[in-house]
């Protein structure tokens, strides 16, 4: 069981580390805005978090695509 938990953590923080760090930063920004911005800000933080996470996913996968394309190109040479 501990091996399973360990491999999940390694996968999350190392293999998909950039995505995990990006998500943690998005969560921290959301928390900071909700605490600093008062009640009106608190009512839109969810949408802001959603937009940040969506941009993060698309950007991370776009980068993964570029890396894969480079590998395919170098393998064909």
């Amino acid at each position: 069981m501990f091996k399973g938990i360990w491999s999940t953590l390694v996968g999350l923080l190392i293999e998909d580390g950039q995505l995990a760090i990006g998500a943690l930063i998005a969560l921290a920004i959301t928390w900071a805005v909700a605490n600093a911005g008062g009640d009106s800000a608190r009512q839109v933080v969810g949408w802001a978090l959603l937009v940040m996470v969506l941009l993060l996913v698309v950007a991370n996968l776009y980068r993964a695509g570029l890396v894969a394309r480079t590998r395919v190109s170098s393998a064909r040479r």
Binding site: G4, L24, T30, W31, R42, G46, L49, L50, L54, L61
Partner: protein, 255 residues
């Protein structure tokens, strides 16, 4: 809670748990077909008992001791992190960058490994027992996490998540027992794609709720968030397919 509402609330836990049960069932089937059913069934029963203890001690203690908003915040963050991982992998698989998870291949590999290890008929089959125990405990831990996460809202949510996970277990195990073969017809990547989007959506929803946000229509916002995640992920699949040269089915790890 009426049955229809219960079914709606139990669906995310049902789908997410079904994915894990498919993986565990595939391995138990491989052990049973190769080495006989007694040891793997005992291994499965022992792992189920161990899981029940884990859920009863950890899960219930967490849900009852930690304040609700704090729990929603923590669980929301975890759901988002795990959901993003599932979603990313599912998108990479759809785009051909990572190989599709092949249950039949896993099943055949398990069969070959177990046959290679041999079996003496008179002894209790400890290998079969341990392989089944490990598989059920590992996948079951993930089911336990899913139940605790989806049930974090407390009360009826915990009941719905538990019902969803149990129903998924019964459904997948019945299917596996009827077919006695790996469940290759289950579109696993589609399930992981949907579950990833659902986990992320619940993560965003609960984290914002923990910070004091009131979503328009409360839980009715969740389907809208799920659709948004699915649309963005599908857009990412399209982008990745245009980026890669035609016919490039590569297996690039750590991208």
């Amino acid at each position: 809670m009426d049955p229809v509402t219960l079914a709606i609330h139990a669906t995310p836990a049902f789908v997410a748990s079904a994915v894990e049960f498919v993986e565990a069932t595939t391995i138990v089937l491989a052990v049973g077909v190769t080495r006989g059913w007694r040891a793997p069934l005992l291994g499965t029963a022992a792992a189920t008992a161990a899981l029940a203890v884990i859920i009863a001690t950890l899960g219930v203690a967490i849900v009852t001791v930690v304040p609700e908003l704090l729990l929603k915040g923590i669980v929301g963050s975890l759901l988002l992190l795990f959901g993003l991982r599932w979603l990313r992998k599912a998108v990479l698989r759809f785009a051909g960058i990572v190989a599709i998870h092949d249950e039949e291949l896993i099943y055949l590999r398990e069969l070959a490994e177990l046959r290679a290890q041999g079996l003496h008929r008179k002894e209790f089959d400890w290998i079969g027992f341990l392989v089944a125990f490990k598989a059920v405990l590992l996948e079951g831990t993930e089911v336990a996490f899913i139940v605790i996460a989806f049930g974090a809202a407390g009360g009826t949510a915990f009941t719905a998540a538990t019902v969803g996970a149990i129903a998924a277990g019964v459904f997948v195990i019945a299917l596996g027992a009827a077919l006695r073969q790996p469940l290759t017809m289950v579109p696993e990547n589609w399930l992981k794609f949907g579950v990833g989007a659902m986990l992320c959506s619940f993560g965003v929803f609960w984290f914002a709720e923990a910070l004091g946000m009131q979503w328009p229509g409360d839980a009715l916002s969740i389907p809208l968030i799920v659709v948004t995640f699915l649309a963005a992920s599908w857009l990412a699949v399209r982008i990745l397919k245009t980026l890669l040269p035609e016919g490039a089915q590569i297996e690039a790890r750590n991208v």
